[in-house]
Amino acid sequence: MTLFRAYQEEARYFKYAFNAAGKVVEEAPLIISPDKGILSRAMDASHIAMAVLEMPWEMFDEYEAPTEEEELIYGLDMEEVTRIVRRTRVTDEFTLEAESEDEVIVKLATGGYEREFRLRSIEIEDIPDEPELDYTVEVTVVPDFVQDAVRDADLVSDTVKVGVEDGTFYFKAEGERGTVQPKVQEGAEALLGFDAEEDVETAYPLDYLKDMIQAAQGAESVIIRLGEDMPLELEFRIGPAGEGRLKFYLAPRVEE
C-alpha cells in the first residue's frame, strides 16, 4: 500500500537541494504533511547551522498525499541521501514514496528503466523549531554572485563578513594573504531585490557557506536575510515555478 507518493519529471530540484542539505546536516526528519507537503527541519550536531526544506504538494507533477490526518515522519541519514543524490542525473524522473513507516523509497527513471533505492528510516531525537528573527536586511541576488563571493572569500580566510553599507551588499574576507570583497550595488542587474533598514556587518564561518551554496545551482535566485550579530538566512526557491523553498540558518561568529 502506498502511504504517500510524489513524482517529478526532472530530478534537478531535488538533486541540488538534497545535496546541499546533506552536506550541512548529518541527519534530518522527512515530515509528510497531508496538507503542507514534504517538509524537513534539522540542525547540524554543533548547532551552528539549520536546514529547512518545504516542498508543497503543488510543486510536484503528480502526488498522492497521505490519507490519514496525522503527519508521517521518517528519519534520514543524510550521508546515505547524499550517496543517492550523487547517482542522480538532473534529467532523471524522480519519485519519492513510502509503503511502510520503516523506509522511504526513491525511484529514478530514465531511458526506459527504473532504479529503486530504499532508505531505512532512522530515529530522529528532536525536530527543532525554525527561529523567528527580526532581520533588518533582505536582499535577493542571482545565485552566481553568492557562489562567486563565497568561493572568492575562501581563497584568503575561513570566515567571511557579510554586510550592507550605503546601498551596497558585500562579502568581505580578510586573511594574511590579502583581502577579497565581492560586492553588488543597488540598481545592478545581479541585485534583484534590496531592502535594508540599516547598515550591518556580521561574520560567518565559510565552511558551512561553501556547503550551503551547492543548492544555488538548482535555484533561480537567492534571498539573503541579515541583521547585526544575527544568524544569516539563505533562501533558495526550488521547483518549476519556485513553489518550494530550501532555507539555511547559519550562526554568526561572535565577539565578547
Binding site: 550536531a45 554543533s46 548547532h47 551552528i48 527561529p131 564561518p205 550562526a251 565578547e256
Partner: protein, 384 residues
C-alpha cells in the same frame, strides 16, 4: 625548524643556567669514545618520513629501563626526559618500501612494541648522525648490530588485533580502550602492525602519532555527543614542561578548537613577537592547517575531560608554549599536559570566566584571550 636548543647551542636563550642540550651532546660523545658496546634497552622504533615511500625503520636503544610512553615520561623531570631521549641511540637500517611491512616476530620490531623495554646490546660501528634537530627530539643515529639479551613481551591485546587483522581504526580504538599508551599504539601503527594485511604499511612516526590521536579523538567525540549538555562554564588548567594548558568548557553542543600561543623564543616561535595559531572544528577542513598534531593530541585530553564530567561542552583549549620547552619532545607532552588540567573555576557567566583568565594570564597568554574575545563561533541555540 624544531626546538630552541639546536639553534641556540648553549647561548642561554631558554634562561637556564646550564645548557641541557650541550650537556647531553657531550655525554653522547663521551659514551661513544669510551666503549663501542652500549648496554641498554631496546625501547622504541622510529620510521623516517624523508624519502617516502622508501623509509628507514630505526630501533632505538636507551640506557634506562623507561618505556618510551607519554604517560611514563611525563612523570619525570624535563631535563631527565631530554637526557633519556638524547641518549636513545637509533640503529640505522636499510631503506625499505612502506609496503614491505615487517613481521611481528622480527626481533627489532617485537622489542620496540614490547610492554617493557628489552635488555639489549648495541655494537656501534660508527656514528652517522647527530640527535635530530627537528622535533621531536631524539638521539643520535649509528650503524651497528643490535643484540637482544632479554625477551620481548608483546601486550596480549596488540598481539590479538594484529593476528585478527582488525581494521586499523578499530585496532587503535581497541588498544586505547585496553589502556595502552598512545605512544605505544602509534608505534605499532607506524611499524605497520595494524590493519588488514593487504592494507598494512609502514607509516612515518610523525604521521602515525597524529593519525592515532585523530582516530582516538573521533571515537571519543562520538561518545561525548551522547552526553547531556553541560550546565556551567568551567575553566581547567594544567601544565607540563613549559606547556601551559587552559581548557575552557562552555555549556554548548560539543565543539572543539585549539588556540596556540608561542612565547618569543619558544620552539617554532617568532623570536620577537607572540605567535598565535588557531584551528577549529568549525572550519571543517580535513586537517588542522595551523596547529598540526597538537590539535589532535589536545583534543584527546579535552574530550576525556568531557567524558569524565559526563557532559558535552563547547571546548576551547589554549596552549601557551614557554621558552622553557626548549627541546620539543612530541605530541604526548600536549596530551599529558591537558590530562593534568584541573578545574580552577566554575561559573554561569562567561564574562566572569574571561575576567578570571585575564587575571591569571600574563601578557603572552593574553594574546589567546584576545583571539577568543575577538571572534568565536556562536550557535543557533541563542536564537531559538
Amino acid at each position: 625548524m624544531g626546538g630552541l636548543c639546536p639553534r641556540c647551542r648553549g647561548r642561554g636563550w631558554c634562561g637556564r643556567d646550564e645548557c641541557v642540550y650541550l650537556a647531553t651532546l657531550r655525554e653522547i660523545s663521551r659514551r661513544l669514545r669510551r666503549h663501542r658496546d652500549l648496554d641498554g634497552y631496546t625501547l622504541t622504533a622510529h620510521v623516517s618520513w624523508r624519502g617516502y615511500p622508501r623509509v628507514r625503520l630505526t630501533p632505538g636503544v636507551g640506557e634506562r629501563d623507561v618505556p618510551d610512553e607519554g604517560r611514563e615520561l611525563a612523570r619525570l623531570p624535563y631535563e631527565e626526559v631530554i637526557e633519556l631521549r638524547a641518549l636513545t641511540f637509533r640503529k640505522r637500517n636499510e631503506r625499505r618500501h612502506v609496503r614491505e611491512t615487517p613481521s611481528l616476530s622480527d626481533e627489532e620490531v617485537e622489542a620496540a612494541v614490547s610492554s617493557r623495554p628489552v635488555e639489549s646490546t648495541l655494537h656501534v660501528e660508527r656514528r652517522v648522525g647527530e640527535p635530530s634537530r627537528t622535533a621531536p627530539f631524539i638521539g643520535p643515529l649509528v650503524e651497528g648490530r643490535l643484540e637482544l639479551d632479554g625477551t620481548p613481551r608483546v601486550p596480549r591485546p596488540l598481539e590479538r588485533v594484529h593476528e585478527d587483522e582488525l581494521k586499523a581504526e578499530e585496532a587503535v580504538i581497541e588498544l586505547y580502550e585496553r589502556g595502552l599508551d598512545e605512544s605505544h599504539i602509534a608505534r605499532a601503527f607506524s611499524l605497520g602492525l595494524l590493519g588488514r594485511t593487504a592494507n598494512r604499511r609502514l607509516v612515518p612516526t610523525r604521521w602515525s602519532v597524529a593519525a592515532v590521536d585523530a582516530i582516538i579523538s573521533d571515537h571519543l567525540k562520538r561518545a561525548a555527543r551522547e552526553l547531556p549538555p553541560g550546565d556551567e562554564y568551567r575553566l581547567l588548567r594544567g601544565e607540563l614542561f613549559g606547556n601551559e594548558m587552559w581548557v575552557i568548557l562552555r555549556p554548548e553542543p560539543l565543539s572543539y578548537e585549539l588556540i596556540e600561543v608561542y612565547e618569543p623564543g619558544a620552539p617554532w616561535s617568532d623570536r620577537e613577537r607572540v605567535t598565535v595559531l588557531r584551528d577549529s572544528e568549525v572550519s571543517r577542513e580535513e586537517e588542522p592547517e595551523e596547529t598540526g598534531g597538537a590539535y589532535y593530541a589536545a583534543r584527546v585530553g579535552a574530550l576525556e575531560a568531557c567524558l569524565d564530567l559526563g557532559r558535552q561542552f563547547g571546548i576551547t583549549v589554549v596552549r601557551v608554549v614557554r621558552r622553557e620547552y626548549s627541546a620539543p619532545l612530541g605530541a604526548w607532552v600536549i596530551r599529558e599536559a591537558v590530562r593534568r588540567a584541573e578545574e580552577v573555576l566554575r561559573t554561569d557567566d562567561f564574562g566572569e570566566l574571561l575576567e578570571a583568565l585575564e587575571k591569571r594570564m600574563d601578557d603572552t597568554a593574553r594574546a589567546a584571550l584576545k583571539a577568543l574575545r575577538r571572534d568565536r563561533q556562536g550557535t543557533l541555540d541563542t536564537f531559538l
